[in-house]
Structures are given as structure tokens and as C-alpha cells.
Symmetry: C2
């Protein structure tokens, strides 16, 4: 039975709690929040505590899942809590990975804990694909596409415009860019070349739709340099079709072996981004506890863990079943 | 510099030699054969030796790649050579994996060697996908498809028919079966349901084409229970379009997290089956030598090795680049 603590109760924390509560090998000891615990409620009856109370749980939690929203807070939180707990997170600021893993490794080793970093789908599952693809097909080029999925930042940028009631922005991989990547012409593609920005907007009654569409398409940084599609829909249609959090993406590698073209392609298609991210996080959380119990210490990523460690049966049974 | 020995000089041995000779971190010490070495020739000038001469190379080979054709021979060969060498193979008889890995692990440990088993694309890369997919999405169902690719056994069965000059059989995943698997209805599909058998045949002048097609389609075990398509082509067209060895396949997992449907899909599309298999084999051969030098002993599979071990740079550099 894995005793889980959850820090943060946004989409990821809630989805992680729901998964853990549905499993007979996990129990949620508590949810730790910066908000007032007395105002918080869980559909599973999980108790809430202030983040300041974490110290009282030393020795009572096998792994602490850091599900806070802010990337900056998360690094500080992990470096502090790895002194007292095993930690796992889905930290996703690629540019800071070297610094973060190095610092967390030192803290975890000093305190004889095990931490896992960047465990989700990107980073996480996509990272495994990029590394494996490069390893088995060294002479080639990898391209990552994101979507079709909701970009929270772009959706919020639209919602700030006058006359907009509701809005969502989907990042969509372009078919012609996918075809180029599959044909070995992916190295010149930028993120911009690869993705279409598809917007669904509910406007106020009487709003100037042409003006809103023009404002969106010309918005610097967010939309101006992309192919942007703006669709106005009714509030009812929006609520019916555009409130979910789908996401996904592709990792494509085209390479050459002895003059022959070889293609590797991983494709993720998610009805719910936070639920799948939480599923990955919880799988590695159980794996973390097994590795900790075997004596592994320090900070690891999904790249450092063999896939057999994800399966909670004897290694030879895993080989017989999956190899 | 990895000192490689190759046992067997069929498609896989030749492709492995070509890769190793193209890399500046590998050298091929020798090719070991059951045929008369004096009759053998390598385009790279690699020396040939009798398999009986392997003993003379103890201490001179970092890893011995077992590229023999017969699955039975391969197990006996590995269990014998693991006494003297580190070995790697792409053994693919799924039903014997438990027995083989267990036996080879004992021999390798007894003799302080490291062996890797079943390293190719299936088993190998596909096995990693099946295990990872099951791990991160435990509530779901995985379906493996093979093709489009050449089945040597089925091609040979056609070539034995009277009136057939040349023939190739492609195993092709059926689109409707792929759609069912993606929609979460894959659990009922059999190998038969999932694949079309597509045949290209060059017939003798004056042969009865209807009779040949009928004989193919009614052939027990091979074709009778499948959807089989027979195409007669000219010898010239056959030589132009049907002498390569393409292959590939898909590993699909449809699962559920908190009531939301999530799809994971890996797709392999190979111009050359033996060249890609050799690329995987050589990548893990270099990885094997690094792990051996770190003290790892016994028999491992692709499931037991973290993907970061495939990349010959510092672990933190690998994390910074790929995570």
C-alpha cells in the first residue's frame, strides 16, 4: 500500500487523488494546500492540511506528489521537501532541467531520499520516445508536435479581449508539416511552421465579430506569426463541445540505416490532459516507492528508469508477458 | 572503441557489420561462420573464422552479436558462448523467453558476463512500448499489429507452388481493425482479424493464373483463414518493386483514466527490416559494453535498461537534451 501525499489541489492534484482513491494499492494520507484547509473539500473525504503542516507527516508518507501550478514554486518546494520526503513532480520547464535535477539529486542523496522529476507526457513519455528513437536510430532527426490540444495561455489571451465571453484555443499540428517530418524534411520546421492555432469564441450580443477576429489574428507573440483560425460559436455549443481538456501530440523520427529510410512515430491522443498526466505521475509514484525500498536514492527522471520497473510483478514475469 | 564479433552472415549479420564499419566507435574483430571461412567474402575486408575458432578470441571481443538464423541454434549458441563472451541477440520466440532469459542469466552470472536478449524491434522496441503503455495506462488494452511487411514463410509457401517463378507476401494491417483498436474495441481481435495477406506473384508463361490464385487462397494455415489478395505481376515489375524487405507495425493502447479515454500509439515504418533490426542490435551492443564496464552482469532485455543508457554522453547531458 503506497501512502501518498498530494501538494496542490488543481486539475493535476484532483486527478491524482481520484486515481489513487480508485486503486487498492494506494491511499491518500492528505492534501496539502496554501489555501485555508477548512474551506477545502474532497469528493473522497481526503483530509486537507496546510502546507506548513507537512513536517508533522515525516515518516507517514511514502511519496509526496508535487502538483502545484507554478514552476518557480515547484522547484523551491521540491528542494525543501526532498529533505523530508520522497518527491515526484511533472515539472516541465525544459530549460531548467539540468539545474533542477542536479540540485535535487544533491538534496535527495544528502537526506537519503528518492525524487522523480518531470514525470508526465512531455516531459515524461515523450522524453522516453525522443531518447529511445535517438538511441536506436542515431543517424536521423526527431520532430515533436503538440496537439490537438488546449493551450491555457492562448485561451486566456483571447478571453481578455473586449466583447469575448468565452474562448478556447487549440494548438493543432499541421498535416503538411507532419508529412514533411515523415519524409525526412523535418529539420527546418519551426514550432510556428508545425502548428495551427484554432480558436472557438463566444462573443457578447452585438459585438463586432470581424474586429474580434482581427484582434486575435494580429495579437503579437500569441497569434500574429501563426496561421490562426477564429470560429464564433454559441454559448451552448461552447459548453457542449469546448470545455474538455484534450491534448496530445506526436514524436516523429526519420532516420537512415545503411542507406535505407526508417520511420518511428509515437502518437498520443488524450481526452483529458490532466487525467493522463496524473496517470503517468501515479504509475511512477508507485515505481518510485518500489525503487526506494530497493535502496535507490537521488533524483531520477523517466529516462533513468527501465520500463520493467513500472510493472509491479516479478521481472521474469514482466519479460514473459511483454517482451 | 567497441570490439564486436558477429556470429552468422545472413541479412542481420551483414547489416550489423555495415553499421559497425560505418562508426568510428566500433570495430569488427571477425565474422564467425559454420560455412567454410575460405569461401566467404566481406565488402569491408572483415576476416572470417570458423565458429569453432571462437575460443581463440576470448578476451579479444567486447560483445558477440549472435546473428544466426535458427532460433533453436541461437539458444544453444548463446548458452555456450555466454561462458566466454558478453552476448547480444534478437531472439524472437516469445513463448521461450522465460526459459531462455532464466537459463542465460544463470550462465552469464556464473561466468561474470553480460548478455542481452531479444533486442530488435519486436521483441525489443515494441516490447518497451507494450510495457510502458501498460505501466502508465494500467486500465486499458494493448493491440500489436505487424506490417506492412514481408513474411518470408508465407512468401516461400507460394514459391513452392507449380507455375510460380517469384513471389512475395506482405502482411498488411487492416484499416477497420486499426479503427476498432483505436476505439477501444481491440480486445476481441485475433491476429487473423487484424491482417490482410497481400501476394505478388510472377507466374510461368502459360500458367493457369486462376488455379494458382485458388491454390494460394485455399492453402491451410498460411492463407485459408485470412483475407488474401493475389496480384500477378511481370518479372520486371517484381524486380523493381518487390525485392526490398520493408516491414513495420503498430502498438496501440486505448485506456481509461478517471472515465476519460486516452490513446497511445507507436508506429514503425521500415524500408528495411534487417537494417533497422541491426541498428537496434548495434545500439544495445554499445550500451551493453558500457553497462558491463560499470559492473552489470547477467542477462538483460530491452525492458531492463533505461533509455538513457542508450546514449553515450553524461546522464545529466542526456536529461538536458531529451527530457
Amino acid at each position: 500500500m503506497t501512502k501518498l501525499g498530494i501538494v496542490g489541489y488543481g486539475n493535476l492534484g484532483k486527478a491524482s487523488e481520484k486515481i489513487a482513491c480508485s486503486r487498492d494499492d494506494m491511499t491518500v494520507v492528505g492534501i496539502f494546500t496554501r489555501r485555508d484547509p477548512a474551506t477545502m473539500h474532497s469528493p473522497f473525504g481526503t483530509p486537507f492540511y496546510s502546507q506548513d503542516q507537512l513536517q508533522q507527516f515525516v515518516g507517514k508518507i511514502d511519496v509526496l506528489a508535487l502538483c502545484t501550478g507554478s514552476a518557480n514554486d515547484l522547484v523551491d518546494l521540491a528542494l525543501e521537501q526532498a529533505k523530508h520526503f520522497n518527491t515526484i513532480d511533472s515539472f516541465d520547464t525544459h530549460a531548467r532541467m539540468r539545474e533542477y535535477v542536479t540540485a535535487l539529486d544533491a538534496v535527495a542523496l544528502d537526506n537519503q531520499h528518492l525524487s522523480m522529476v518531470g514525470v508526465g507526457w512531455d516531459p515524461g513519455v515523450f522524453s522516453i520516445m525522443r531518447t529511445l528513437f535517438d538511441g536506436v536510430l542515431p543517424n536521423g532527426h526527431t520532430v515533436t508536435f503538440w496537439g490537438k490540444g488546449v493551450s491555457q495561455g492562448h485561451s486566456e489571451a483571447i478571453r481578455k479581449l473586449d466583447g469575448v465571453v468565452k474562448a478556447v484555443q487549440y494548438t493543432v499540428p499541421k498535416e503538411d508539416a507532419l508529412a514533411m517530418a515523415r519524409a525526412g524534411q523535418g529539420s527546418a520546421l519551426t514550432t510556428r511552421d508545425k502548428h495551427l492555432r484554432q480558436c472557438f469564441v463566444v462573443a457578447e450580443d452585438g459585438a463586432d465579430l470581424d474586429k474580434i477576429a482581427c484582434q486575435i489574428k494580429s495579437m503579437p507573440n500569441y497569434f500574429a506569426d501563426y496561421d490562426t483560425e477564429v470560429n464564433f460559436v454559441s454559448s451552448e455549443e461552447f459548453d457542449l463541445n469546448h470545455t474538455a481538456m484534450p491534448h496530445g501530440g506526436l514524436v516523429l523520427r526519420r532516420g537512415d540505416v545503411n542507406g535505407m529510410a526508417e520511420n518511428l512515430e509515437f502518437n498520443l491522443n488524450l481526452s483529458s490532459n490532466p487525467d493522463f498526466t496524473a496517470s503517468v505521475l501515479m504509475a511512477y509514484a508507485r515505481c518510485l516507492v518500489r525503487l526506494y525500498n530497493k535502496g535507490v536514492r537521488g533524483a531520477l527522471t523517466a529516462l533513468d528508469v527501465p520500463v520493467s520497473a513500472l510493472i509491479d510483478v516479478d521481472r521474469i514475469d514482466t519479460i514473459a508477458k511483454f517482451l
